[in-house]
Amino acid sequence: MRQKRFVREIAEMKQRTILLSFVVAVIFFVLLVRLWHLQILSAEDYRNMSENNRLRFVPIAASRGAIMDRNGTVMVSNQPSFSLAVIPQEVKDKDALLDQLSSLLDLDRAELAERWAKSMGRAKYYPIVLASNISRDQVEIIEENRLRLPGVDIEMKPVREYKGGIIASHLLGYISEVSEDDLNSQGFSDYNPGDYVGKNGIERSFESELHGSDGGRQLEVDARGRVLRTISESNPVVGNSVVLTIDSTIQKKAEKAFGEQAGAAVAMDVNSGEILAFVSNPGFDPSLFSGKMPPDIWKSYLEDKRRPLENKALTGQYPPGSTFKIITALAGLENHKIDDDRTTVNCTGSYKVGTSTFKCWNKKGHGTTNLKKSLRESCDVFYYQVGGNVGVDHIAATAKKFMLGASLGIGLKNEKSGLIPTTEWKQKRFGKRWIYGETMPVAIGQGYVLMTPIQLASMISTVANEGTIYRPMLVKRIVDADGKTIKAFTPEKMGSTGISADKFKLIKQGLYAVVNEPGGTGGAARVGEIKIAGKTGTSQVVKLRDSKQGTPYQYRDHALFVAFAPYDNPQIAVAVVVEHGEHGGSAAAPIAGRIIQAWLDSKKPPQKTPMPQSDDDEEEEDGQQTKEDVTVKGTND
């Protein structure tokens, strides 16, 4: 029990609780009055303010960088395109709006609804693109009906324009809307649904340079979506441009040279590895991929036997056929099975190994044949003999010196490595020992041997410069919007063959004879004023006992030609593959000739030289063989 003191003070204090209660009540009343003022008297003003009080971020897409050829000619750039967007949070009746839009603009309602559904769950008040690439008429219609379409917006975006249409389509690649998978993966944090991303070719490989960075505007808009003011703005940064090593004029002429034929061609600077032309025929229209692909065109792409969507120069793996005799010949020289032109083989038209008979394309035989003649006339028996003497592993060793059998690192997706068989490879791959008779097809570039057109170009380029392997280069420079160089790529020596120059000289003499001497298989490549050296090749697609007229397209042989020019001072190397073109000399060599002519023209621009029309085809039929126990298969993929 505590002592009770200060009785008077306590009484006074207790008295004051009444006063304090009164004060408290008054203060609370004041608060209520204030609330009354805000919530009842000014309620409408504040409600309007809250409805107008909507900040929105409107992204401004960065203009994608251009792609130019080596001379600065623009191959890919942008043009404005409009798309229909909607801000879901501002739409009261989604179904009614979709009905309205589909009837006003004549768009597929289901498609609009699907795109709407797909983009839900992103940031609030972020416009969803419902239809891209709408016409100017459709834009007008939307503008006219703007007030009846709350939440609907038109976005202007730069769209990709491929100046040459289908020219260089495989190399340039295409862009299309970023996929959901991409969006969810790393490295795509800056992308939003509806953004475009490079899906193939240079567009894909140089996405990070080309894309630029998007800007945006922080806007205050009212409930109807009308912009009240811009609060802040960040400008988009235009993507960098890519300057290719390609010469668009050569590229165009090369593609034209193919006509309707399917195939690939690569033209390369012998002394730097810069690729001047990179052809895969037929091409496709890259612009269709960034818009709405018409189904019939898509179907035609898929059904075309010539496979227009495939980048044959990069991913096509072909048996090199007789062009591979260059490697076999060098393997013979390296392993002292051939001593310059004095070593001869007597070609009787066929070559027996055990029970198998390997035929020369010339059934009558070439008679006494030395290295030069064997190249010139593409004698198969000479190479059966040399190949057999050297052995498959030594052929492969020489091929490896040219860095064949591995991809060259050109910098595009899906580059294939080709195949150079060895005994070890066969053991690993099939669990079987190498059979001696399998070496003969390899010696003439058939059998298991596979090369891509880039590898063919690299091979002939290395012969031309006598031993240096350059990494094939597609991009010269990255430049910014002002044309200032940001990154410059320099030629890269990947390695050297280590084969002496005199051996290359012997080969080159033979290759010169192929084009320029009577009896040479590559005379069709000749162009007036320049000395060309080259090698034809015909590679079997399937083995046929009797090659007759009217072989179905898909079973016809591939025609190949590799060449360099000028002979005395090599500068350009060309590899041409014409799928099912049947004869290297007749189908592929003229294309190579035209490419070289185009290169010559580009050297002296003002003069207009007429296209050479060298149709003096010389028959060539190499690699036709019959045998019992050896399977020779040519593949075309």
Binding site: M1, R2, K4, R5, F6, R8, E9, I10, E12, M13, K14, R16, T17, I18, L20, S21, V24, A25, I27, F28, L31, L32, R34, L35, W36, L38, Q39, I40, S42, A43, D45, Y46, R47, M49, S50, E51, N53, R54, K124, I231
Partner: protein, 366 residues
């Protein structure tokens, strides 16, 4: 053990009012944080934890006779002063101010504890103070000294809101004890130049900005004035009946700053309108009046002072927070007791309720 008679004297009115506010608060926090991306437990769940913990502490406090506080009051005061000094030296910096002290297991905010300790200290001090007829100027100097030390230390952190609250609680208690008119007049005369000194030497630029923004919110629409404007829009747009639960655009589009803590009331006002606010204010008013009633019913001076102090603490929190949200006071970080999200506020307020309950339960025991 606890006296059986105490249980029969439990103050249900007090308990129910507090519980009602807590539940409304949890509901409101749920709505205020639906637009948040939350990792771990949602805020409203955490608030339930804090509430339960707070009620537990309050119950424990009820079992201890509040008269024991009298014996320890000056020790507690000294201890908190030491902590306040320690905070300035070792404190953890957060959001530009040093308020927290890491005690290994948990962080404490000594300035928050000072709100309670100043109540106990003043109750102890005035319990034996001759004040009949009201205190003279000379009489108020010693208690003002006791008050000034912690207030200056808290302002140094800087935490203007808490410093103001501690001062307001103490001054309210001095009014309760009794002041002569001459004392009040001289107090006002001295305070005005002190404000000037404080403005010039003690206030940080951000605090000055807040005061200036309060006077003229248009001064910086997107700066600190933005908070006041957005809060007023939220409250005003609520209208009579409100926009509905989880339907407040200001809240859900996150125009409101700290909408689950200091601005929780503006979320409530937007979604429940004037009607909701009226209900909440009536509950709060009842709580404060009931607190004063407890002070009045208490038969000993210490208990009555204590009850009055706790009530003053709750009252000033409510008034300052509400005044801030509806644009009557500058933005100071003062939470709404039991209503705003936050463990510290919940525990401090619940301790206060524990003390009130303690006093109320023992009103017949002499």
């Amino acid at each position: 053990m606890i006296d059986r008679r105490l249980l029969t004297n439990i103050d249900w009115m007090l308990a129910c009012l507090v519980l009602a506010i807590c539940l409304l608060g949890i509901l409101n926090i749920y709505s205020a944080t639906t637009s948040y991306k939350i990792i771990g437990s949602p805020f409203y769940i955490k608030q339930i934890y804090w509430m339960t913990f707070g009620i537990g502490i309050a119950l424990v406090l009820c079992t201890i006779d509040y008269h024991l506080l009298e014996d320890f009051s000056f020790w507690m005061y000294g201890f908190i002063l030491v902590l306040l000094v320690a905070v300035l030296i070792f404190g953890r910096r957060s959001m530009g101010a040093t308020r927290w002290l890491n005690l290994g297991l948990f962080n404490v905010q000594p300035s928050e504890l000072m709100k309670l300790v100043i109540i106990i200290t003043f109750a102890r001090f005035f319990n034996n103070y001759h004040s009949a007829g009201g205190m003279s100027v000379k009489d108020v100097l010693p208690p003002l000294g006791i008050l000034a030390v912690p207030v200056i230390l808290i302002m140094k952190q800087p935490d203007l809101g808490t410093a103001t609250l501690v001062a307001l609680i103490a001054i309210s208690m001095m009014f309760y004890v009794g002041l002569r008119w001459s004392t009040v007049v001289s107090f006002v005369l001295v305070t005005i130049p002190m404000f000037w000194v404080g403005w010039t030497y003690f206030l940080h630029p951000y605090q000055k900005n807040r005061v200036l923004d309060f006077i003229n919110p248009e001064r910086s629409r997107l700066g600190s004035g933005y908070h006041i404007i957005q809060s007023k829009i939220a409250v005003g747009s609520g209208g009579l009946a409100g926009k509905g639960f989880i339907k407040g655009t200001q809240t859900q589009l996150r125009f409101l700053p700290e909408q689950h803590t200091d601005f929780a009331f503006s979320v409530f006002a937007e979604e429940w309108g004037f009607v909701g606010c009226l209900v909440l204010i009536v509950i709060y008013l009842s709580l404060v009046l009931w607190g004063l009633n407890i002070a009045r019913r208490c038969n000993d001076r210490f208990g009555s002072l204590l009850a009055m102090g706790v009530t003053a603490m709750l009252f000033w929190h409510i008034v300052i927070n509400m005044g801030m949200v509806i644009g009557m006071f500058p933005v100071v970080g003062v939470p709404m007791p039991f209503f705003s999200y936050g463990g510290t506020s919940m525990i401090t307020s619940m301790v206060g309720i524990g003390i009130l309950q303690n006093i109320s339960m023992r009103r017949f025991m002499f």
